[in-house]
């Protein structure tokens, strides 16, 4: 690394979830020698979010993304419980309750918060995004009874799976006609739903718009009665603090293909809406893997004083009831669903004979092979079937 490693420069990162922490540590891995300040509105050490919906037994603890001692070793100035309240681009300052924080380069990694329902939640209900939310859910699981999950997306189904495995009764309510409406093809979603029903989860799909009421002990949702309700109906980017800053804010921080929102200002992770170079269009992902890769990309750009476009094929995984569900890319207008005798599933999604995505159940290496193909461009259905053939000899097409 040369002087571009920036020993006299200050990078301020706002948000210490996976994107923010990864950016800080990656700056050091890429040879950046300047000052790194990492602000977070939460108190306490940075923890990883995917575990919030999976580890909810009474003994569960949260793994940290990074130990605070490691942050110190890497000379990262971590400041928890400091919320950013504004941005002054002209002077290069982040405004916080604790005073202004000047920067040469700013990385916005403020993530998302749960999409709220239109009404306040009753006492025995909560969202799931923070350590405090998780503690509340965990206490409810420890008390037992019936958990009502509002929203049959990844987060909701993971919590439902974990709770039913811990002996709770579980009802999942969603206005959608099926589970996993976003990102998972119908044939796979049907199998996941059947798996939940087999495990004892009650699914109430096509429900009325969810309205929760209740008292100190119980909660009611569309006719379902429970001891606690988890509301998981999507997420919204945390970008209100940037209002009036001059940055373009439209469902996230709008960035170019390099993840730059303005000169010296970058956005990474769930709050970044960037021109995804893989597809040439504005996208915002809410995926753990994208967040880490954004962070790595921007850290390298800052450390080397250079830019390059960020291309990313969406990748999500979900662990439910002993199944590993993985999805690369997006659903299309058609699906080809294959299965082997031992419970392995492969669904190829396509639009106009070009593959848009691949979804697997319990087939991790197959998913890697598909991911490799989709990173190159949009392969044809024949190309994908042929490339995956060595691993799918005993598979039969089932729909």
């Amino acid at each position: 690394m040369n002087a571009a490693a920036g020993s006299d420069r200050t990078v301020v990162i706002v948000g210490a979830s996976v994107a923010g922490v990864r950016c800080a540590t990656s700056l050091r891995n890429a040879g950046f020698e300047g000052t790194v300040v990492l602000l977070d509105s939460d108190a306490g050490a940075p923890y990883d979010k995917p575990q919030l919906s999976k580890r909810i037994d009474s003994a569960a603890r949260l793994d940290l993304i990074v130990e605070e001692s490691t942050l110190r070793e890497l000379r990262i100035d971590f400041r928890p419980a400091v919320a950013a309240t504004g941005l002054d681009l002209a002077t290069g300052v982040v405004e916080t309750a604790g005073g202004p924080v000047p920067f040469d380069e700013l990385v916005i990694a403020t993530g998302c918060r749960p999409r709220p329902l239109a009404h306040p939640l009753p006492a025995q209900a909560g969202y799931l995004r923070t350590r405090d939310d998780w503690r509340q859910l965990k206490e409810a699981v420890t008390r037992g009874g019936r958990l009502v999950v509002v929203g049959a997306g990844f987060l909701g189904l993971e919590a439902a799976a974990a709770a039913v495995s811990l002996g709770m009764e579980v009802t999942v309510v969603d206005v959608a006609p099926r589970v996993l409406m976003r990102g998972i093809p119908t044939t796979v979603a049907e199998r996941v739903a059947a798996r939940h029903v087999d495990a004892g989860v009650e699914l109430r799909l096509g429900a009325q718009g969810p309205v929760l009421d209740g008292d100190d002990q119980t909660v009611r949702v569309d006719g379902a009665r429970g001891d606690y309700a988890l509301v998981s109906v999507g997420a919204l980017p945390n970008v209100e603090w940037l209002a009036g800053s001059g940055l373009t804010i439209e469902d996230g921080v709008v960035c170019d293909a390099n993840l730059a929102a303005a000169p010296g200002v970058w956005a990474v992770g769930d709050c970044a809406r960037w021109v995804n170079a893989r597809y040439g269009r504005l996208e915002r992902h809410e995926h753990w893997t994208t967040a880490g890769r954004h962070a790595q990309h921007v850290a390298r750009s800052i450390a080397t004083a250079s830019t390059s476009p960020m291309a990313e094929v969406p990748y999500v995984w979900s662990d439910q009831l002993g199944w590993r569900l993985q999805a690369i890319g997006r659903v299309g207008t058609e699906e080809l669903h294959f299965a082997s005798g031992n419970g392995v599933h492969l669904a190829i999604s396509a639009t106009d004979q070009l593959v848009t995505g691949v979804t697997t159940i319990n087939a991790q290496a197959l998913c890697v092979a598909a991911r490799r193909l989709l990173q190159q461009g949009d392969p044809t259905v024949e190309e994908v079937v042929e490339a995956l053939a060595p691993a799918t000899r005993d598979f039969a097409r089932i729909s």
Binding site: T25, W288, T289, Q296, V368, R371
Partner: protein, 80 residues
Amino acid sequence: MTDPITVSSPSEVLELDLDKCNGYGNCVFAAPEMFELDLASNVPILLKAEWSDGEREALAAAVADCPAGALRLRKRDALG
């Protein structure tokens, strides 16, 4: 508990904990020269027994990209 699989550079040791690995595959994309996922077992294969300084950043990315925390890069100690 299985002992982690380890490979080393002169100053660091990479540990792969197969008890933690869930086969998410992110390591294969972060450091393709180093990792592959075995088709039959869905378990990672280490493709190299060592790495160069130039490969270190990709390796650190693979460690950080692992959602399961199955990879660890630590300084080599007297016993390493």
